[in-house]
Amino acid sequence: MNAPRQHIPQLVIALFLALMMGGAIWLKIPLSWVINDALVRLAMNGVLVLSLVPMLNAGIGINFGLPVAVVAGLLGMCLTVNWKMTGLTGFVAAVLMAAVIAVIFGSVFGRILNRVRGREEITATFIGFSFIPLTNFFWATAPFTNPAMLWPIGGKGMRPTIGLKSSFAKILNDFLPLEIGPFVIPCGLLLFFACSCLLVHLFFRSATGKAMQAVGENEGYARLCGIDIDWMRQLATILSTVIGAVGICVYAQSYGFIELYDAPMMLAFPAASALLIGGSIAGRTSVLNVIIGTFLFHTMYILSGPLANDLLVPEMAEIFRLLLTNGVILFAMLHAGGRNGKPCPAM
């Protein structure tokens, strides 16, 4: 593997971003708006992107089964809203409950993924996809009682979008905002994101984290070292699921709505794309990749909307984002060269 080729997506995105920045200045889109939004979106989506790191480092590959984690988070939040917990307590309760549910989901998910060595990505994709209609069933029949979450007519079944204004919307966004002129830096949100990153970073410094990385880099060698590979992989999946569940809580409080039903279906792809833009390669992904990737990807996301509106057809922004999202993942797939391109596990 030669190093410069690995950075092609980053270079393309950076160049593209520079072009779009030029366009934004030319169209007189206020810079402060772009930067404020970019910071919010960085932290809002960052935790979801971070959730892919443990599985990637354990050699399981990109977690396209992110919907499983997201559903755990949604379930946690729905329970808190149902019990009418508000404010910071509500958010903390939501995160804790999401984490507990995610541990259960993650251990089952991890066990399944251990059965399908070698093709975890495709299996995870379809477990994620098929989990969504299953939970749709649950949302449509679940015995929740808070009328703010139910259909106004009939009073049965959850609404597709639940407003969080009366519970914990923007609780992190509005925590310790730092205003410098036109710029508003959401310190609370960034602090939360930084803490999560730090925790993951510290985890990979610990003995367990090192063992997990060893499994990802060379399974045969890890086995000779006496590492329980199946348990490490399961642990990585549980960790990924828990972080993903917390990630959707952060996302929802920042967005102000819980989105149920089919909304989480395609969440994995932008997250994966952001991580890959950040320069992650199989077996070695650091927190820095997450931060750089999320920032580049979402700044592009913010800029592409108004630019496409002003210059071309409005629908173009969405198509273009999808094009870039999937293009980057495909590039990474082809670049890694499949299993043959990786250091081969000596069985």
């Binding site: 590959g61 396209f64 399944i112 059965r115 399908v116 060595r117 070698g118 093709r119 990505e121 495709i122 299996t123 994709t125 379809f126 477990i127 996809f129 098929s130 969504i132 209609p133 299953l134 749709n136 069933f137 449509a140 029949t141 079944g157 792809f269 071309l312 057809v313 629908e315 173009m316 198509i319 273009f320 999808l322 094009l323 999937n326 293009g327 993942i329 495909l330 797939m333 082809l334 890694a336 060269g337 499949g338 299993r339 043959n340 069985m347």
Partner: protein
């Protein structure tokens, strides 16, 4: 007895039981259900057949048949653009679609040769990417770079094609040939024969020299080079054939529906086709024509009756709808979990171990 048990695939059995149960709960008229299934058999049959060759060649389920569908839609839009009459336009559509799918199929094959061992996820992403490019061309390119000849199909702002294009010239153009009535049941005999002919063709291809090469590559991709076979080239051939068959299948699908949802008609064709194939008893490493034909009937029976069954059981048609999509995705997930354990990327190793024992 043992061979009988092996022949009865549990997935197929489950589908049969579920379909029958849903049919009895739904209380729909058997004649109506029968008609629906015949229509869907004709509509989706060829698309499912397109999956068989890549599975034989060891590349797993080819979700990139979406690209074949896109090629067919490009042909259709061009035919509407130049306002050709029925039969001629069908030739144009087929010519444009097949040419495009040969070219694109070649590129998909080249991509998949770079991503050995994770072909399925790569084909999914290729499908997504192709969809984006296709939408970009027809929503933004048409009217700006490409000059349309038929202004009726354009959006009023002058850029981009309408979401829905009416295909009055070839609605049921092929379905109405040799229409046989058996009591209440209508059988478009010609199309029925076309689907069966396509099935026979796929079966024939698998029995030719090339077909044996596919099977050899699928069995031991790493060792066939010792036999003097170029495995990369054979894999590309498999994908090209699959894409071309998918393109033809989608033309049949669209002419049966008679309307073209320009931006969305091709979505989900891959998921439903794969689920149908797996329902028939195929696995991700072995598929036969028989599986495809049984699978379409079983899968679509369940598809036709489940909303009504959901309505009758729970008083909520949406539940039947969720059940439907769960079946589609769940079948693929279950097939992947159950079959890959022995025959995954490590399958070659396992086979070696089995032999050593």
């Amino acid at each position: 007895m043992e061979s009988l048990a092996r022949r009865c695939n549990p997935v197929t059995l489950l589908f049969a039981v579920l379909s029958l149960a849903a049919l009895s709960v739904s209380g729909m008229r058997p004649a109506f259900v029968c008609n629906e299934i015949i229509t869907r058999f004709i509509r989706d049959g060829v698309m499912v057949l397109a999956l068989i060759i890549p599975v034989t060649a060891g590349m797993g389920l080819n979700f990139a048949i979406v690209v074949g569908a896109i090629c067919a839609q490009v042909g259709l839009v061009l035919a509407v653009d130049y306002q050709l009459p029925g039969a001629e336009s069908l030739l144009l559509i087929a010519a444009v679609g097949v040419t495009l799918s040969v070219i694109l199929g070649y590129f998909i094959g080249v991509c998949l040769n770079r991503a050995r061992g994770r072909e399925m996820i790569t084909t999914i992403l290729i499908g997504f990417l192709a969809t984006s490019i296709y939408q970009l061309v027809f929503m933004v390119g048409y009217g700006t770079i490409i000059t349309p000849h038929n202004t009726e199909m354009m959006l009023s702002r002058g850029t981009g094609i309408r979401n829905m294009v009416d295909l009055q010239h070839f609605r049921n153009l092929l379905d109405s040939i040799w229409l046989v009535h058996l009591g209440e049941i209508e059988i478009p005999l010609f199309m029925f024969l076309v689907v069966c002919g396509m099935a026979a063709t796929v079966k024939y291809i698998l029995h030719t020299r090339l077909g044996k090469h596919f099977a050899a590559v699928g069995f031991r991709g790493d060792r066939v080079e010792l036999l003097g076979l170029d495995s990369s080239r054979i894999r590309i051939m498999a994908i090209v054939l699959s894409t071309v068959i998918a393109c033809l299948g989608h033309i049949i699908f669209i002419q049966n529906i008679g309307m073209l949802n320009v931006y969305t008609a091709h979505l989900n064709t891959d998921i439903f086709s794969c689920a149908a194939l797996l329902a028939g008893g195929a696995t991700v490493s072995e598929a036969r024509v028989r599986h495809a034909l049984i699978g379409i009937v079983l899968f679509h029976t369940l598809f036709v009756v489940s909303p009504q069954a959901g309505q009758n059981l729970f008083g909520n048609p949406a539940l039947g709808e969720y059940f439907r999509s769960f079946v589609a995705y769940g079948t693929i997930a279950v097939a992947l979990v159950c079959n890959l354990q022995r025959r995954g990327a490590d399958g070659i190793l396992n086979r070696q171990k089995d032999r050593d024992r």
